[in-house]
């Protein structure tokens, strides 16, 4: 499927290195591209550096060396570039991280008003459309703690989409959910993928990978071990380590 995509690389990552102050090498010579409209799934054992990689992509974590360019904007020391990239890159966290002191609607409105400088009416209109899309418009006036985990995560997705990002990052978006709520969040993600959103998803949901991903990346110890389509991974992974990992999670 990846080959069918004609989009240009929207994320370019070259030779990333990241070592935490405690000496952990979280990213080691990590390079790769993500094309416009592509859905990339990243898998790998705990501590492989998956979260670190995603967090580097929107500047939540600083890299030691290497380059990250997103939609032509280099992620460098310039504060302006970092803010610009964050506007274009949405992120969904494992722990939802909704703002507990705001209603669902205000959560989705906030960045539209404060970052995109929309009027409250304009923002609300977009927000309600998005909340409808993730099927939670009826809870617009509720506070996050009145919602189930699945509902909160759907709001978090709507909140990220409200910035009209060009890329969406998902860091184990369903890992903190009770099993019966995983489906509703995955459905939202799948729809998004089908609409052509560029997505980088760290997930252990192999069904999701098989259904919508264009490319799967297996990483370990901060670097890419193997890369290919979902079919490739499930039918004949080349690397012994990949096989071992897949046999553990499938």
């Amino acid at each position: 499927m990846a080959l069918n995509k004609v989009g240009d690389p929207i994320i370019r990552v070259d030779r990333l290195y990241k070592t935490f102050p405690n000496g952990v090498n979280a990213l080691v010579n990590f390079s790769g591209h993500v094309h416009r409209g592509e859905v990339v799934v990243i898998i790998g054992p705990s501590g492989a550096g998956k979260s670190t990689f995603l967090r580097c992509l929107n500047g939540l974590e600083e890299i030691d060396s290497g380059t990250i360019v997103i939609d032509g904007i280099p992620l460098d020391e310039k504060k302006k570039n970092r803010l610009e990239i964050r506007k274009e890159v949405g992120m969904v966290f494992q722990q939802f991280n909704l703002f507990p002191h705001m209603t669902v609607l205000d959560n989705v409105n906030l960045a539209q008003i404060r970052v995109r400088h929309k009027s409250r009416e304009e923002a609300t209109q977009t927000s309600m459309e998005l909340l409808n899309k993730v099927d939670i418009a009826d809870k617009a006036a509720a506070f996050p703690d009145q919602l189930s985990g699945g509902q909160q995560q759907r709001v978090a997705i709507a909140r990220a989409l409200a910035m009209m990002p060009k890329v969406m990052l998902f860091d184990e978006a369903t890992s903190a959910l009770d099993p019966e709520m995983i489906g509703e969040v995955l459905d939202v993600m799948k729809n998004l993928a089908r609409e052509g959103m560029t997505m980088v998803c760290v997930t252990h949901e192999m069904g999701f990978a098989r259904e919508v991903s264009d490319r799967v990346i297996f990483m370990e110890k901060g670097t890419i071990v193997e890369m290919g389509t979902a079919e490739h991974f499930f039918e004949n992974p080349a690397e012994e380590r990949t096989r071992l990992f897949l046999s553990q999670i499938l």
Partner: protein, 271 residues
């Protein structure tokens, strides 16, 4: 069986009703009064409560006139009110300095915090009034307000800082990932949550400030305490006056607590 169950239900209801609270309170008050009656009996003190009301207020042909104690209370209000606003402003600024990325800001905040918190308020008050005041031309009132604000601001800053660091990293990161600047993340995400969390300790700090404001009497500001001291020197109504003044402070601080409680309930947001 039947009646005893019925009786225990009635007892339970009675116990839960406000009547029970009032009853307990009355017993407590009676005990306290008995205790003081006994101890002053031993002292052979001659109570003259009747002389107190004119110190509070009096009526004459011009209508109501506030007595020295009420005038003192007004001064206490004024000093505490201004100092409170300043102390919280200084506290918030210092807290933000302490969590900021700037080394200079952190250093300034640190030095201020440690000096202010680790020296007695009385010394700071004297220092500002007698040493700093004459140099830069501060009057009594300004010196008092400045000393109180700086002293209480140090404690307030620790309270604000505790509130800020109690907000999880995920909140901040969610804000940043939406493209919010650091300033906006603090303004709309971190501070609103942090401040709600620290309302109770800030209230205690406000109450401390009101009580600590009594120290301004040492630089001859006619606040509630100073008025009381002056009256005592003139009338020797030592116990009556101190009890009255104590009750006045208690009244003000209780009102403040109740007010904050009420506001907190109205704006309650579960975090």
């Amino acid at each position: 069986m039947h009646t005893s169950a019925g009786r225990s239900a009635v007892l339970k209801r009675l116990y839960r009703s406000p009547l029970a609270d009032i009853f307990q309170f009355v017993i407590l008050v009676l005990l306290v009064i008995w205790f003081f009656a006994r101890s002053t009996e031993n002292l052979g003190y001659d109570w003259q409560w009747g002389r107190i009301p004119p110190f509070l207020f009096s009526f004459d042909e011009n209508g109501l006139t506030w007595g020295p104690l009420m005038q003192g209370l007004m001064v206490t209000f004024k000093i505490s009110g201004i100092s409170l606003v300043l102390a919280f402003t200084i506290g918030l600024t210092t807290a933000l300095f302490r969590v900021s990325g700037s080394f200079v800001a952190r250093a300034i905040a640190h030095v201020y915090l440690e000096t202010s918190r680790n020296t007695p308020l009385l010394i700071q008050l004297f220092f500002i009034y007698f040493v700093v005041g004459p140099v830069i031309g501060l009057d009594r009132f300004t010196s008092a307000v400045l000393a109180l604000s700086l002293f209480e601001g140090a404690y307030a800053s620790e309270i604000f800082r505790a509130g800020i660091v109690s907000i999880s990293r995920g909140q901040r990161e969610a804000g940043y990932s939406l493209g919010l600047s650091t300033l906006d993340a603090y303004r709309f995400i971190i501070m609103p949550q942090a401040i709600r969390r620290v309302v109770p300790p800030l209230t205690s700090q406000a109450i401390s400030l009101i009580k600590d404001s009594a120290l301004v009497s040492t630089i001859a500001i006619y606040d509630l305490t100073m008025q009381a001291q002056t009256l005592i020197a003139e009338t020797f109504l030592t116990f009556e006056l101190w009890f009255t003044v104590g009750a006045m402070y208690l009244f003000v601080t209780t009102i403040l607590s109740l007010l904050v409680n009420h506001l907190e309930k109205r704006f309650k947001v579960s975090a």
